[in-house]
Symmetry: D2
Subunit: 333 residues, 4 copies
């Protein structure tokens, strides 16, 4: 951390500040320039409130140097992390397709969709059991019953399953779920993240609508700090002024996250655009940008889906996307 | 809800669509214009997925008319809600000042601050016990111990207290807390909101960083749908491209929320700006815009605060703000 | 346009409003529902100030139906527009690569870069002569001298050239320029757009940093309304809260613009990300999303470039990108 | 400027980099820490492309210290600038009210409005002659005829006048205009700014919808660099994800601009909110935050205004706002 002092600061003021740093266990390194003095700080600078420091009258600016995430940081872990779910791999050159309905609605529905997406090339089955909805009056999911139906679909098709958790108290219901999803709205539900850090389950962590990449990686860090390093990052669009699409897919996040972190990165083209006709171009662009996988909503009957039918593909549309996506992934490497 | 069909749609297609609406229990009202046909829908249109409808090939546009929030809506509840906490009133012409440290740090600290902010004109004491922090390595609050210290400060000063909840499992710890705060990051933690709906405690609900006013009111609706109508809305800045300030205080939200809802609206000028020197101008502007109160961070020793010292006022600075704010509130009415 | 009235509006109020519409030459179509009355308006509704209408006390909501752009609208022009520049085609299945330095610096530099990008597969040469810079103290370009050097490079290599205009008074300098670029900051410099509408030159119009797709197409409409239909739209990133990248490439804009308009859409991956190492993944993702071309900054000596060296590729890096981009474009179609 | 090198950089690499700085005329100051080396740079660092520097393999981070604006910077000009227009003062404790219609429509209209806003307390008359409109099909203003009508209103009432320029070629038409307005869309029309720098006219510069405060001040710097220091900054709302209001008034910009710059700051509450009923609360909040003035749209017949009637006050409403605003300004100081 570097603290730049204002011109005209006295020696006594500098000394006071350095003493204050010392009481916080930091080594101080002073560089006196022609016009300004710069204080370099060495040690555990996390103990310093940089905004407070910046607000001191004698301080011109404070510049932090190192990224605050450690376990998720590629600097300290140069090789790609590969998540292995019963033989299905994500990351490090392994591309995985996650597909299924927004909500689990019935045994027939989930088994039919599971069989069709498997035939079309999906590696993992998704399906919502607990549904976060903006309105309390909207369908909230089949809950534990939904998880049971997913497990049946897993048994029938052999596909690993992923579903979203909204409450750490439900954790025991997820014992046989293969990947636990944390939704965008819970990306900074720190108590939930801490609980998930004490499991060994792979976690798919979605980026919050208004969270930057640093905050996203800090939330991964919350889980990893508890000992669970099986994290899959998921870009799903951010909130911007543009309203033609539901959210704005931040495609640059894919290469940036790969640079900053060793964790695999998948993209959700269904929620990003909010329209089924955007799923194909966004899927192809994500594969071209180097994503390690995609999570796509597929429904056997989108017009009658209980939730988010507008962004769901039919199984036939999904097959077309899946085939092209794998080709684009190959030629882009 | 109004559905506008594309030009050239056939009678058969219109009939099919109207049947589909009927199976969902809606009355249909068709207006045939020169170029386009418009279908008005009457009944519980919440059962319709508008985005799906919009995605149909024969549909040009779907226009919803009524706001999706009911209990929070001023239309159905024209009079201002007044929240009464042991005689301290917020809303309907009653202005309240909430003040105290970001974090409770020790008995001495919280009692000293409590006494000073009371003397300076505060009506309610704030103090963080459970702290949501972006980094898992930052101070996470004194937790249940912090609540006990707040209760001591309440006993000593008589000030009602407010503190943040992060986990519904902690609810029993809040039995003697006067107002429960839901932080910006948990504004869409729907399971937590539902639990709070089953209490009778006043809830101060902070707006999420990327949430629009409709989503904000829908989260209030989650609590109200459970039977708890004691909600205080809190604007605390939104995330924009501007980085000179930590967040951008959306001052227009104050009059807009008053128009849309009968619930009281307070402003947090400390988190909005992230700098102590912005607290005064933002406080005055909030009072001028008609806010029903302010929540301000005050610390006896900002330079050594464990958290967010940069945005804390000293008790002396707070007194100056409190005095001016009340004057501005009066002349602005 | 549909105007929804509030419940409880009187017949007299409805009649007054309908008379007001009639004086503006509109046909009125009234639908009386159980609770609310809806007025459909037919005719040239552009004469109505919708925001004023919305602000009337008896009006609940106003819903516009048709897009305000006409010439740029795919509805009225279903086939893709193909821009032909001396045999180089953009749009309608024709993919074009535009490459060259941010700024023209010298004859040697621009000719060397031109020859190298041509050899690497570029179809068109770019180079800045008039440079819009945030600071008045930064290099502002070689101006008319820069255009002369570009014309030399065109003569030597045969590549058509594109360069930016900042002032309609300079138009005569662009007589031999093949495509005139309008920069993001001038996207709503309406006087400049009008002047360009009176030429026949192809115009590459960049999207403004904070402009939505409707405003973008309305700016194209300004040029087209003057009679010049040779417009190439260019997505170059929008401003969001995310600061890891200079701007956020709105990749969804590519398929959305193709849906809304018949005009070709190219992407500028250099300015979007602001970093040379993002150019390749963003270029591939743009081609996968269906872009009709790319505009990429290439410099023979990025470290010593007078402007924007950080985002420039070397000619060798450009060749690698160009080769892969064409493959991705093919497999994505 | 401070350049932080990555761990493990060799002495030779450091030497090469320092030589590169030296060729650019900078003094180099090396601080070797335990883990990292930091290079301080003294001299005219504007010659360094910081993004290029950041992109070098051996560089961890680059931190700039000083603000890039000079003439507009309060550091070098601690006293408030006061703009004096025929005795009407703005800034340095002088509060001015600018009022008038969005567009000049006729002689009767502008004179009637001018007389009424003067009687209600306005100091300066505004009125649009050249109108920037998103659509080429919307009313574009009376142009030079509009300016003549404004000058008549000035003659009749004695009020100084302000109107917007869209094209430097029109400058001669503004000879008798008292303040020239640069609209938000032209904030980075650098050629226009340069031309205005060569006049001595007071310029009211509006902030662009997506421009941060630094860019805003850099645009002021463009004018000041030409010799014209009579700049009034105008905050008029920024573009965010929130759509309940047309734009989001960035109220924090008022105190922040006062801290960064000595130039007066006025607020436009009419365009910020886009609704007449928001003008009063936003005006009061701006005065409370320390704005040096307000620019408010007032029309004698808002329902029939040719442009932006939705956000215009009647003269009676304006009088109420004017009276309260001055009281709030006084008690907030």
């Amino acid at each position: 951390m570097v603290t730049v002092l204002k011109p005209g600061v006295t020696e006594e003021q500098i000394e006071n500040l350095c003493n204050w740093f010392s009481t916080r266990g930091l080594d101080v390194h002073i560089s006196r320039g022609h016009y300004q003095t710069i204080i370099g700080l060495i040690g555990d600078t996390k103990k310093i409130d940089t905004e407070l420091l910046e607000s001191l009258e004698i301080v011109e600016a404070v510049k932090t140097i190192s990224e605050p995430f450690k376990n998720a940081n590629r600097k300290f872990h140069p090789d790609d992390t590969v998540i292995d779910i019963n033989g299905v791999k994500i990351g490090g050159g392994n591309f995985a397709l996650i597909a299924g309905p927004c909500s689990v609605e019935s045994e027939e529905q989930i088994i039919e969709v599971a069989e069709k997406v498997k035939a079309a090339g999906a590696d993992i089955l998704r399906g919502g059991a607990f549904k976060p909805r903006t309105s309390p009056y909207d369908f909230q999911g089949l809950k534990d019953e939904g998880i049971k139906l997913l497990l049946k679909a897993k048994q029938v098709t052999g596909l690993p399953i992923i579903t979203e958790i909204m409450n750490a108290n439900h954790l025991s219901l997820f014992d046989d779920v293969d990947i636990i999803q944390v939704g965008a709205r819970n990306m900074q539900n720190f108590d939930l993240l801490k609980e998930l850090g004490h499991t060994k389950k792979p976690i798919l962590l979605k980026r919050g609508l208004a969270n930057n990449l640093k905050e996203f990686l800090m939330s991964a860090e919350y889980i990893m700090a508890g000992g669970n390093e099986n994290i899959i990052l998921c870009e799903r669009g951010i909130r911007t002024f543009e309203t033609y699409t539901r959210n704005t897919l931040d495609i640059s996040a894919v290469p940036m996250l790969h640079e900053l972190s060793h964790l695999p990165v998948v993209v959700d083209p269904s929620h990003s655009g909010g329209m089924s006709r955007l799923v194909k171009p966004l899927s192809l662009s994500a594969a071209a940008a180097g994503a390690d996988g995609l999570m796509i909503e597929v429904h056997n009957d989108p017009k009658n889906a209980l939730c988010d039918g507008a962004q769901s593909l039919t199984p036939e549309q999904f097959k077309d996307v899946a085939d092209k996506v794998r080709k684009v992934y190959e030629v882009s490497r």
